[in-house]
């Protein structure tokens, strides 16, 4: 089935950052040989050469029960509906019984080639999409999936009483008539037309090149939700306990916050699942390894901070994929003009000098950071278009790889010299150069990591101090960088991270009109490229690639931020599991997973 592992609203950054903790990295230095190839390849090749698909050649058994570990240090919230859920654990549970109606290829683009509940057709040069629900797709209560179910999903999200976070999506907002519907002026969305039971069309205000990667793909069971007013839907039992989907497994029982029992859905359109049932339970990160060795869970995401390159499990295997996220160092260059809703790059800071920013970039030893602090599971980042977007990431751009000599050279050429003999350079005007660095707390490595970068900068003669001499907690961190537009003017550098979702368009993070453009970076060339990448002309992937190539290069030449690390996530799978893959764009799904032994392998 549509292996659309669309992790739209993926990860809580908090989680990502706590995964950062590392205890063994530094100690393993001796035994752990450099497993990365050259610098250049390492950004696109998995550093540890983990497979993406489980290897198991044994004969499969009939049925069986798979135990799945949901790795989380707190109970799951249990909002089991795509329109309303918030936390990543809930999304993980949802993906077992409720799936996107479209299929996705390896570029995370909607595709009719992949087995899926609905096919689509673009009309009017991409301004309109026709969605055709396939026959034989049933909800778990036996009712067929209808066009109105897909339409209802948009009606929920756009509704004035809706309090979830999904309306913030540019494509959803660009549906014709959506704004009027959202304002409560009309009762229906004029751009969504239901042609018959199985067919509908959606019209957009303008063609969007991100449509196929970003269109909301989930349907809501209207016959099931229908009699609950949308205002009360969020707290209704129908999205917490009595939940249905049309995925390969259906929910049989939920113990709030701790476990879920799924059983095979006989009428699944992709064929009856091979497993009889799946038991999902929450497992604390501190116990995952033990549970896996013990065989009490078959599949679980493995906490990267517990990964030890020297550790070779006997009863399970590691798979890995790249996360759609990146870490970066940002430069605060301006302020947010709240009245005109636009960034203004007018801060009086030596960072306005591109040479200084470049020197800061070349001074950072990200390879060592990835290896020592993240056990090799993070690799130096090259561009802001992450390799996750295979067709847009430009592997030829080297980015800021570690080169302290080059950094010193750039500083010297630009006139930065140590005139007072304190070991740090002064600005070309002869003023003392002193920058502050804001970094987030979380995990054991956060502080040593920040100090490591500060030492890196010190090595090339740039004086950087931690902002207020300490790390800052998640929420205050984002207050300081300006989540509401009131940036703290005393911050010069900060370390942040973004989840990218599946849409490559960086407009919402780097345009001058974007509040989340925390550097408050303003550059006409940048605006032009971002507009072009999102224009109708960019419907042509070749052209879009060209634009994004130029943009990636511009972000290196005149950087608002320096990307530092790309991340890998590990999944551990017991050796009795067959046909499990993290690969995208295949017809493999949960219904194809089988077991080759009644009892799990133990260590």
């Amino acid at each position: 089935m549509a292996k659309g592992k669309l992790k739209f609203f993926s990860i809580f950054l908090v989680l990502l950052l706590t995964l950062a903790a590392c205890s063994s990295g530094a100690k393993d230095e001796g035994g752990d040989k450099d497993q990365q190839g050259g610098d250049d390849d390492s950004t696109v090749v998995d550093p540890t050469t983990f497979p993406k698909t489980v290897k198991n050649d044994d004969a499969e058994i009939e049925g069986g029960t798979l135990n799945y570990g949901l790795v989380s240090s707190s109970p799951f919230e249990g909002t089991l509906d795509w329109q309303f859920y918030q936390g990543a654990p809930d999304a993980e549970i949802l993906s077992f019984f409720s799936e996107p109606i479209f299929g996705y290829d390896e570029y995370y683009r909607m595709s009719n080639e992949v087995e899926s509940a609905a096919k689509f057709e673009l009309l009017d040069d991409g301004k309109k999409i026709k969605v055709m629900i396939q026959d034989g797709v049933y909800w778990h209560d036996g009712k067929p999936l209808k066009a109105e179910d897909y339409a209802y999903s948009f009606e929920i999200i756009g509704h004035p009483d809706y309090t979830g976070v999904r309306y913030g999506d540019a494509i959803i907002q660009s549906i014709v008539g959506m704004k009027e519907y959202h304002a409560g002026e009309v009762d229906s969305i004029s751009g969504i037309e239901i042609i018959d039971d199985k067919t509908l069309t959606i019209e957009f205000e303008k063609a969007n090149p991100s449509l196929l990667t970003g269109l909301w793909p989930y349907a809501a069971p209207k016959h099931h939700y229908g009699d609950v007013p949308i205002k009360d839907l969020a707290t209704s039992d129908k999205i917490h306990i009595d939940v249905i989907g049309f995925g390969p497994f259906k929910v049989n029982n939920i113990v709030p916050g701790e476990s879920v029992e799924f059983v095979a859905f006989e009428n699944y359109y992709g064929g009856k699942p091979k497993l009889d049932s799946i038991i999902l339970k929450v497992v604390d990160p501190s116990k995952v390894k033990k549970e896996l060795e013990n065989g009490s869970i078959d599949i679980a995401e493995f906490p990267t901070d517990q990964y030890d390159p020297a550790y070779e499990p006997t009863n399970f295997q590691f798979l890995a994929t790249m996360d759609n996220a990146y870490t970066y160092i940002g430069f605060k260059l301006g302020r947010w003009d709240a009245e005109n809703k636009v960034a203004v790059q007018d801060k009086d800071t030596p960072l306005q000098d591109v040479a200084l920013r470049q020197a800061i970039g070349y001074a950072m030893d990200n390879e060592t950071v990835g290896k020592e602090y993240y056990n090799g599971l993070r690799i130096p980042a090259s561009t802001l278009m992450i390799p996750f977007f295979k067709d847009y990431h430009n592997p030829d751009i080297e980015g800021y790889n570690y080169d302290p000599e080059k950094a010193k050279q750039i500083l010297a050429d630009a006139g930065y010299k140590d005139t007072n003999g304190d070991g740090f350079v002064e600005t070309p005007d002869g003023e003392e150069l002193k920058l502050t660095f804001l970094s987030m707390s979380g995990g054991d490595t956060a502080e040593p990591l920040a100090k490591f970068y500060i030492q890196n900068w010190k090595d090339v003669g740039i004086n950087v101090e931690l902002f207020e001499g300490r790390l800052h907690e998640f929420n205050s961190f984002y207050d300081l960088v300006g989540r509401k537009g009131n940036d703290d003017p005393n911050v010069d550098l900060y370390q942040g991270a973004w989840g990218t979702g599946t849409d490559p368009d960086p407009y919402g993070l780097y345009s001058k009109t974007a509040l989340f453009n925390f550097p408050r970076y303003v550059n006409e060339e940048n605006e032009k490229l971002l507009e072009e990448g999102n224009s109708e002309k960019a419907l042509d992937p070749e052209y879009r690639k060209e634009v994004y190539d130029k943009w990636q290069q511009l972000m290196i030449d005149n950087p608002p931020v320096i990307p530092t690390l790309y991340r890998y996530a590990l999944t551990a799978v017991n050796n009795r599991v067959k046909n499990y893959t993290l690969e995208n764009g295949t017809d493999w799904g949960l219904e194809d997973i089988s077991l080759t032994s009644d009892t799990p392998f133990k260590n």
Partner: protein, 322 residues
Amino acid sequence: MLKFIVRRLLIMIPQLLLLSIIIFLLAKAMPGDALTGQMVANPNLDPETMEELREKLGLNDPWHEQYIRWIGNLLQGDFGISYVHNVKISDLLGNRMANTFLLGLLTLIFAYLIAIPLGIIAGRYPDSWMDKLIVGYNFVSYAIPLFVFALLMLFLFGYTLNWFPTGGSVDVQVERGTWDWYLSKLHHLILPSISAALLSTVGTIQYLRSEIIDTKLKDFVKTAKAKGTPERKVYTRHIFRNSLLPVAAFLGYDIVFILGGSIFIEQIFNYPGLGQLFVSSISQRDFSVVNILVMLFGFLSILGTLLSDIILSIVDPRIRID
């Protein structure tokens, strides 16, 4: 006695009101809100929509308006809605409280079952090898952090011996309400509650031990012995009851302990309870839940002291309150 209880209950009202204002202001002073976490996690969420949601949720109103709205609803029994969990807080609390209560109660029972006999033995035979053993256990249990000990117990009895389940409060495959379901619940409860109980006996054992040693030297004990009362009777009738006073004084506070939940135990055993809920609500800025929980804990503490006073007056007739 009744007058005393009523008076204490009445004082509770201004106390709780003050608490509610303080906690509300402190919560508002924390940076961020329930939507901040979504900003990074959800790349499709634009700032305008976030602002619109804040407006809809009333997060942009001045604090006193929000406070009055909140306290008004609270007085009418409406606890509000958890934004993060998307459920009514009363439902959420009901669920978690039942778990926490069971765990706390069993922990308390185990703790007293272990502590009282040990305290009596140690007090009755001070400086014997048994006493040394018990005091040794006391030092060790006082020194070991709960999260280390609970993991050790889990490793030993959960993973190595496979006697107990390693997480959760009940087996998801067992049908709710059946006999097996209750058994499964008990089975899941034993390991976490014993782990917690073994480390929470220090106070009780120490108090009991020193009280017994003290009481043994009191005049009325000497009198009883001089009258020829059998040694066993002296201990059960005369010494034990008097030595229980300080222990009984703490019983009221244990009510708070039962419902307060233990973050470490709940996290290590993946046991969804109030302690976990409190911590995760703070870090996710789910203010409505945080406020209600603080009010609940505040209420329980005040109730706990009251109960302690009442219990004390029952155990020790010399204490008369009115």
